[in-house]
């Protein structure tokens, strides 16, 4: 296959969430001597754009997004393994630890965010539902996270968001991680009051929020970033 064909097929495989085919094609691309960065931008990256747009237009749904995110994560592992350390560091979008706050099992919104972040090239560690406060901090330390993302649909789980921020602060790690929050009852005011680094209205806004926080590189310091693409 010509390099362009490999990249086109890789894009297709990522968009379709075909993990095996994606892995095969990324390895084929590496073997064909295509620059890792080109594989990321012109192959896998295009696939993620396709599936993101399909989801936004109501043509693809959560399962497709999750599978595409999984495929993208595997492809990125191979690509980074074939880059120099500096190049990999430059290309990395960031490491996100995400979970549903304690007491809350309603994770569908969080799953959309996790999948969209993965599809957009973030390394995502999903802690699942009903996650203990300390688990967020422990996992963030373990994977050297850039962002700790907490979601809830329940007002009675909101206090745990503050607890997470406080725990991370009190253990002296506040300047290591950006803390972002979201979900039904999480308002910009609440996010500001609890000392989060960012809040977003929906899953797409969250991807943009994470990109902005990664570019800013001042966890726990700057003014909170609030993104609401649906605001009047």
């Amino acid at each position: 296959m010509l390099p362009e064909e490999i990249l086109a097929k890789l894009s297709e495989a990522v968009a379709e969430g075909d993990e095996d085919a994606s892995l095969e094609l990324v390895n084929e691309a590496i073997a064909a001597g295509i620059e890792p960065l080109k594989i990321l931008n012109d192959g896998a990256g295009k696939g993620m754009d396709v599936v993101s747009e399909q989801y936004n237009n109501g043509e693809a749904f959560l399962p497709e997004l999750v599978l595409a995110g999984d495929a993208m994560s595997r492809v990125i592992e191979v690509i980074f393994a074939n880059m120099s350390q500096e190049e990999a560091a430059k290309s990395k979008q960031g490491v996100v630890v995400i979970g549903q706050a304690k007491g809350d099992v309603h994770d569908i919104g969080k799953n959309v965010v996790a999948a969209l972040l993965a599809v957009n090239g973030f390394e995502v560690h999903d802690l699942g539902i009903d996650v203990e406060v300390k688990t967020f901090a422990t996992k963030a330390q373990e994977v050297n996270a850039d962002i700790v993302a907490v979601s809830t649909l329940l007002t009675t789980s909101l206090p745990y968001m503050s607890d997470i921020a406080n725990y991370i602060r009190d253990t002296g790690n506040r300047e290591k991680y950006n803390i972002i929050v979201g979900g039904g009852p999480v308002t910009p005011q609440f996010a500001t009051d609890m000392g989060a680094d960012g809040w977003s209205r929906n899953a797409f806004d969250c991807v943009e929020l994470c990109k902005q926080l990664m570019a800013r590189k001042t966890p726990g310091k700057g003014e909170i970033i609030l993104i609401d693409s649906e605001a009047k």
């Binding site: 749904f61 959560l62 399962p63 304690k102 009903d130 009675t156 206090p159």
Partner: protein, 481 residues
């Protein structure tokens, strides 16, 4: 001593430990979407979403969704998150549930007792209204707010109630002793408010603020028996947890009716609106069978709109409600998730479309409202509850065709704003809690929109005749609230 539900529940719990084992991710991303897609295709339901006719009027389509939902329920069963196993049911078990299902549910006691009955599409029997949904309110407002919500017996039949922001000034954390205490506190406040409103026998449908079994455990003893209800909500369509089982067993222990629900998400695991509708039909069949509910509380929700008042969700709810209403006598509580807040035209339009749809499609009960999408503290007043009762009951007996034509006229008034809905006003800016009546700004808006919808054909003066709670101020229909 124990009724048959306990034995059946134990059988299902056994299955949660012995059913086919499956990683949750496989269930979510492969089994659910693949099976739903396959069944939609098999029954010719793919692409049946009709955005031009948001309220389905096609009986054949509803019946096909029922057949497809039946197959989905039997093929999949319910997934138990705690054991990562599938609770499969047999066709005999489903048929037995239908055979043994009660003819009605009696809720409340004495003069405040009401009867929930199965309803068919276009049924003239008025459905029940429970108010409110779990919108957060300040502790100080709780009693007067609830007192206001239940002020008019003809409009609100059952109390669900708002959610407390704090318990004795303390933040409530789910799953902690604060929540257990809140459960009891909420129940006591409700009883006080009902007594003050002169409706002490009104049924309470669970602890609104209970996000885990602890809140229910705290609250159930204070409202045991007498036709009260325990609520148990599953995390997502076709899934349950041990927390669901805990709440159900607690409910049975306290002699409660059981209201159990699971929401189907457009854009979620079930996929498109047709998939969410299909999953909702399967939910309404599986929940009484697996979780022994006296009535279900499942509906379709649109992830991208954070509500279900857009065309896709209106359609999916209409066809899924009709599928069950036409083919079983299962009773269902169907919720409209408005996104706009109190004292806005948008809220009234959203509620009007959603409730008219659920009523003509055959829902037996609703729980309302979700003012401001439930996002903000104290963004709920009794007026949204009264409006919900007004619409939901008045529409009984309308045809789906009439309702569809009216919905088509109302939807354009708000649907473009669904991504950025009007927030509205907090209670203290549009409702006088001491006088128990809305402020002039809300009264003016309420009457203006209500009259506008009457002009569009909504039979809003039908349920209460010419006299709306005995307080019609003129021959037209301006209401003195």
């Amino acid at each position: 001593m124990y009724n048959i539900k306990v034995q059946r529940l134990l059988n299902m719990l056994d299955k949660a430990y012995t059913g086919p084992i499956m990683p949750m991710k496989e269930w979510d991303t492969k089994v659910i979407p693949k099976t739903i897609k396959g069944i939609l295709k098999k029954y010719g339901l793919t692409g049946t979403l009709d955005l031009e006719n948001p309220i389905n009027c096609d009986d054949d389509l509803a019946d096909t969704f029922f057949k497809a939902g039946w197959e989905l329920a039997l093929e999949l069963g319910m997934y138990c998150e705690d054991t990562e196993r599938v609770i499969k049911i047999t066709e005999d078990e489903l048929l037995e549930t239908i055979r043994d299902y009660q003819a009605y549910n009696i809720l409340g006691e004495g003069q405040d007792q009401v009867i929930m009955k199965p309803r068919r599409p276009e049924d003239p029997y008025a459905p029940l209204v429970a108010s409110s949904l779990g919108i957060v309110c300040s502790e100080e407002n709780y009693i007067p707010l609830v007192q206001g919500i239940v002020k008019y017996p003809k409009l609100v039949d059952v109390l669900h109630g708002p959610t407390l922001a704090t318990v004795f000034g303390r933040t409530i954390r789910s799953g902690t002793p604060y929540e257990t205490l809140m459960g009891n506190y909420e129940s006591q406040l409700k009883k006080e408010a009902l007594w003050r409103a002169g409706r002490p026998g009104m049924a309470c449908t669970g602890v609104a603020g209970a996000s885990t079994e602890y809140g229910h455990l705290g609250g159930a003893p204070a409202v045991a028996g007498r036709g009260n209800v325990t609520m148990s909500l599953c995390p997502v369509e076709l899934k349950c947890t041990f927390s669901n089982f805990h709440r159900i067993i607690q409910g049975l222990n306290y002699g409660h009716k059981l209201r159990v629900g699971a929401f189907s998400y457009i854009g979620g695991y079930a996929g498109p609106p047709e998939g969410a509708a299909l999953a909702c039909v399967a939910n309404d069949l599986l929940i009484p069978t697996v979780l022994q509910s006296d009535y279900t509380s499942s509906y379709v929700y649109d992830i991208q709109l954070f509500g279900n008042c857009g065309r896709k969700a209106v359609w999916a709810n209409s066809v899924s409600i009709q599928a069950i209403s036409r083919n079983t006598a299962f009773m269902r509580n169907k919720i409209v998730n408005e996104t706009a807040g109190p004292c806005t035209e948008m809220f009234m339009y959203e509620a009007a479309v959603g409730l008219m749809n659920h009523c003509v499609s055959g829902a037996s009960k609703t729980t309302q409202p979700r003012s401001a999408g439930g996002r903000y503290t104290d963004y709920i007043t009794p007026v949204e509850c009264w409006w919900s009762g007004d619409v939901f009951k008045s529409c009984a007996g309308m045809t789906r065709k009439q309702a569809n034509e009216i919905a088509k006229k109302i939807l354009p008034k708000y649907e473009e704003k669904l991504h950025a809905p009007d927030k509205g006003l907090p209670i203290k800016e549009c409702f006088d809690l001491q006088a128990q009546r809305p402020m002039d700004n809300y009264i003016e808006l309420f009457n203006r929109v209500r009259n506008e919808l009457i002009d569009l054909g909504m039979p809003l003066d039908k349920a209460f005749g010419e006299c709306y709670m005995g307080k019609v101020s003129d021959k037209r229909r301006t209401i003195v609230l």
